[in-house]
């Protein structure tokens, strides 16, 4: 028996642009999300590289830079730099990281993990994607009209004064917010209502718990940034005097309303990443995950705690001393569930039968990177140290370790994990791992020096800096380019697998026990005729390696155990 791609699957059951653009199939929407997010990631990445080029040396020639970037000279490189870091941040946050795992991988994998035919609201799901596209169009409009130089946070009063395309960008972010809300709503209802017979809450794969916790935040917090941006837009257009100090308004209020969402949003980015890592570590250690319940509960706990700590972004913004102290103290509460997760991951590795496939490389990278990102967060949550470190490169390095090092690395790991299921092909492990290694090294080289520069006082968001920071910035820029090279190699490994002679993927190349690996690769249009029977998501005894298939198959029912028999007789769709 050899692997053959099934004749009819979701990729070829319908053809043409319309069949994709108007599809209701969660798998197709997931793929379109994935490629859209990757496209936005490349755009945001280009801006990141432009930022690092400007900062590679101090006192970069002013006129030369403007010419180098090919932008109008009257903007001036300092202004240009403001546009670059703003667009980098806004694109990466709103277009890439927030939809990255929940919308792209969540859409693709979540219904299959439930043995369901689709999400609860397929039309709403398509609408979410179309909203994402509209939001992206507004961002592109902002980019090609007057640009954006407020920073991704749109702080008043500057965002009310600048003559750049703030309204386009806030409208785009508003629309993207609703895209995110509807995705979260869809996932929440799907998890509640479409779980198959026998899948109790505590038999769900941890990825589902993570997406569930994320959905709570998306539903409860994202509308608040919607209203914050709407208020900002109306303030700019009509002048209602809520945020604008020249009308008697209160800019600190904007920060409160903004961070009420944007702090929980950090967990919209990182919780799904934690879910992916939990899946990867359990499956590639071939061992039930350690402390299943504590990981599940810690996801929900993080979601809840994330709502009561937003003020730690505002320690130096005019927030009162009393509230500063309270927020600083409460911030530490988030560290507890985060640490529980890392502890459980490491305990899962212990005495596991670890196979170092590409997704596992990303998962292991995330443990390291999230460890650093999380622990440096404690210093920033501490009021005293934060006053010194606030708005320095220490903060920049910290949140890149969390957002890129955890969220993006987990996203890429997830893409490599589900790629055989998405396209029914295996990629070249050597090329893929090379990309991972280079990206990992590049990432650390980029951001570790920034911790040092920041702690020595280099402020963020400046287009130039004192000579003493030159070497940190030089190595950081070299690291950024290395990271870029690594990511390009990773993308090449994926694209290469689709071209030329394809290596067909088995239904279950990794030996995972979750239901998504029980249909063919790629899956049929409706995934399953009936949800397969469910047992523990990490009971790796239920599958075993089959040399002919080059993949895993359910354990033969004659072995006697009734559970195994059930698993074995599961009809593969």
């Amino acid at each position: 028996m050899t692997n053959t791609t099934p004749d009819v699957h979701y990729l070829n059951c319908d053809k043409g642009f319309k069949s994709w653009f108007w599809t209701l199939d969660h798998k197709r929407l997931g793929l379109m999300y994935m490629w859209s997010v990757i496209a936005a990631f490349i755009l945001g990445g280009i801006f990141a590289l432009l930022v690092r080029m400007e900062l590679m040396q101090p006192n970069m020639g002013i006129e030369e830079n403007a010419a180098l970037y090919g932008w109008s000279k009257e903007l001036g490189p300092a202004n240009l730099y403001n546009h670059f870091f703003t667009l980098h941040g806004a694109i990466m946050v709103f277009l890439v990281i927030i939809p990255g795992i929940p919308a792209a991988l969540g859409n693709f994998a979540l219904p299959m993990m439930l043995g369901a035919k689709d999400v609860a609201y397929p039309k709403l799901n398509r609408f979410s994607y179309h909203l994402w596209l509209s939001g992206a169009i507004f961002f592109v409009l902002a980019l090609v009209t007057k640009g954006l130089d407020t920073g991704w946070t749109f702080y008043a009063p500057y965002s009310l004064e600048t003559d750049t395309a703030v309204v386009f960008a806030t409208t785009g972010a508003f629309i993207l917010g609703f895209s995110s809300i509807f995705t979260g709503l869809n996932m929440l209802v799907t998890i509640h209502k479409l779980r198959p017979d026998g899948m109790t809450w505590f038999k769900m794969p941890l990825f589902l718990w993570a997406i569930y916790a994320t959905a709570i935040i998306q539903i409860l917090a994202t509308p608040v940034i919607g209203i914050a941006l709407l208020m900002l837009t109306i303030e700019r257009v009509l002048g209602v005097g809520i945020f604008d100090p020249t009308l008697g308004g209160d800019p600190v209020l904007f920060e409160h309303i903004f961070w009420f969402y944007s702090h929980p949003a950090v967990y919209v980015m990182v919780l799904p990443a934690m879910g992916v890592v939990s899946e990867l570590l359990a499956n590639f250690s071939r061992k039930p995950i350690f402390g299943y319940r504590s990981i599940a509960f810690s996801s929900v706990a993080i979601a809840i705690f994330s709502f009561i700590v937003w003020g730690h972004h505002m320690f130096v913004s005019g927030q009162s001393d009393l509230v500063n102290v309270v927020f600083s103290a409460l911030t530490f509460s988030v560290a507890v569930p985060s640490a529980i997760k890392v502890f459980n991951w490491i305990a899962t590795l212990y005495k596991g039968s670890i196979s170092l496939d590409t997704p596992m490389w990303y998962a292991l990278s995330v443990i390291w990177l999230f460890g650093i990102g999380g622990l440096t967060g404690l210093w920033l949550g501490t009021l005293g140290t934060d006053i010194h470190l606030h708005d320095t490169y220490f903060v920049v390095a910290h949140f890149h370790f969390v957002m890129v090092g955890s969220a993006i690395f987990a996203f890429i790991g997830g893409v490599f994990y589900w790629w055989p299921k998405m396209y029914g092909v295996m990629y070249n492990e050597t090329v893929a791992k090379t990309g991972t290694a280079i990206a990992f090294i590049g990432f650390n080289l980029t951001f570790l020096p920034q911790f040092v520069a920041g702690s020595k006082g280099m402020p963020r968001r400046y287009f130039d800096y004192a000579e003493e920071f030159a070497s940190y910035n030089f190595w950081s820029s070299i690291g950024a380019m290395t990271l870029g090279v690594g990511l390009v190699i990773a993308l090449y490994a994926l694209l290469k697998s689709l071209m030329g002679e394809r290596k067909a993927a088995p239904a279950n190349p990794w030996g995972a026990v979750t239901l998504d690996w029980q249909c063919t690769s790629p899956p049929p249009p409706h995934n399953f005729d009936h949800a397969p029977p469910v047992d523990g998501p990490y009971d790796h005894e239920l599958v075993r390696w089959n040399e002919d298939l080059q993949g895993y198959e359910p354990v033969d029912p004659v072995d006697g155990d009734p559970n195994l028999a059930r698993m074995g007789s599961a009809k593969l769709a």
């Binding site: 369901a116 035919k117 689709d118 999400v119 609860a120 609201y121 397929p122 709403l124 809300i181 709503l185 869809n186 929440l188 209802v189 509640h192 209502k193 479409l194 017979d197 539903i219 409860l220 917090a221 994202t222 509308p223 608040v224 919607g226 209203i227 914050a228 709407l230 208020m231 109306i234 303030e235 009509l238 002048g239 209602v240 005097g241 809520i242 604008d244 020249t246 009308l247 008697g248 308004g249 209160d250 209020l253 409160h256 309303i257 009420f260 409706h526 399953f528 005729d529 009936h530």
Partner: protein, 262 residues
């Protein structure tokens, strides 16, 4: 499958989406209960989103009011309690007819359903009509957010009415601020301006929700005319009614907060 759904109509052991699937059941659900429950849960999740969406504005209102309660009491005297109260009654009645519509749909009383939906729509239209009367009065009297040209609170070039022409509110304000110290008067006037900023924003956003509600209620009326609703298929009526009640809930708080704080 749960025991409750195992004997439900359309449950089908051989093919997932076979020919005896009920008419109103989408292919990815097993039973009508599951589909109905999903719709309800999704709508409630959306309502939570709406609650938090409005919360940002309520926070803006609350902080402004907490720091300037005297000015706010004064400001609400510019609003006409009579119109606010009438609008509250109109909206409560529409909420009642919306709840009745759900009952009618559940019982398959199509003509009553249509009548109740039309009353709901008329009440919603009446609400917006009264809002229009209130807005246009304030527009002419210069009681507007401070950023607008024709606002008497504009900090650059305050609008000044012509004598005898929509100048009652202005003259009252002129009289009441006459004896204030300069800094106090500046604070008073800018705070009043912000009150009207918040007032128009809150009522405007609520009004947009009413308009959206009118749109979906019209859609329900159209579908009722086609005889689509009945005991097996009333989810759309139920969900729109839930939305409409939320719009009502927001107004239940807006009315005392804006009109009754004198």
């Amino acid at each position: 499958m749960t025991t409750a759904s195992a004997d439900a109509p359309g449950h089908d052991d051989d093919h997932g989406h076979g020919h005896d699937h009920p008419k109103h059941l989408a292919h990815h659900f097993d039973t009508l209960e599951q589909q109905f429950g999903s719709s309800k849960l999704g709508m409630w999740a959306f309502l939570l989103t709406e609650v938090l969406f409005f919360s940002g504005l309520f926070v803006a209102y609350a902080t402004l009011r907490a720091n300037n309660s005297e000015v706010f009491s004064y400001a609400s005297s510019f609003l006409d309690t009579k119109w606010g109260a009438i609008n509250t009654v109109v909206l409560l009645i529409s909420s009642f007819t919306a709840a009745m519509s759900v009952r009618n749909a559940q019982l398959g009383e199509t003509s009553k359903l249509k009548r109740n939906l039309i009353i709901t729509l008329i009440c919603a239209g009446g609400f917006m009509g009264i809002k229009y009367v209130e807005y246009s009065h304030k527009w002419h009297a210069g009681l507007l957010p401070p950023g607008l040209e024709n606002s008497m609170f504009n900090p650059e070039t305050p609008w000044i009415p012509e004598a005898g022409h929509h100048d009652t509110d202005y003259l009252n304000l002129q009289r009441d601020t006459m004896d204030m110290a300069p800094a106090e008067r500046v604070h008073f006037m800018t705070t009043l301006g912000r009150f009207f900023g918040v007032y128009f924003f809150l009522t405007g956003l609520h009004g947009v929700h009413v308009l959206i509600g009118m749109g979906v209620i019209s859609w329900l009326i159209l579908r009722t005319s086609r005889g689509e609703f009945g005991p097996d298929n009333f989810t759309a009526v139920d969900l729109v009614a839930l939305y409409w009640h939320l719009v009502d809930l927001v107004w239940i708080f807006l009315f005392p907060l804006l009109y009754l704080i004198a």
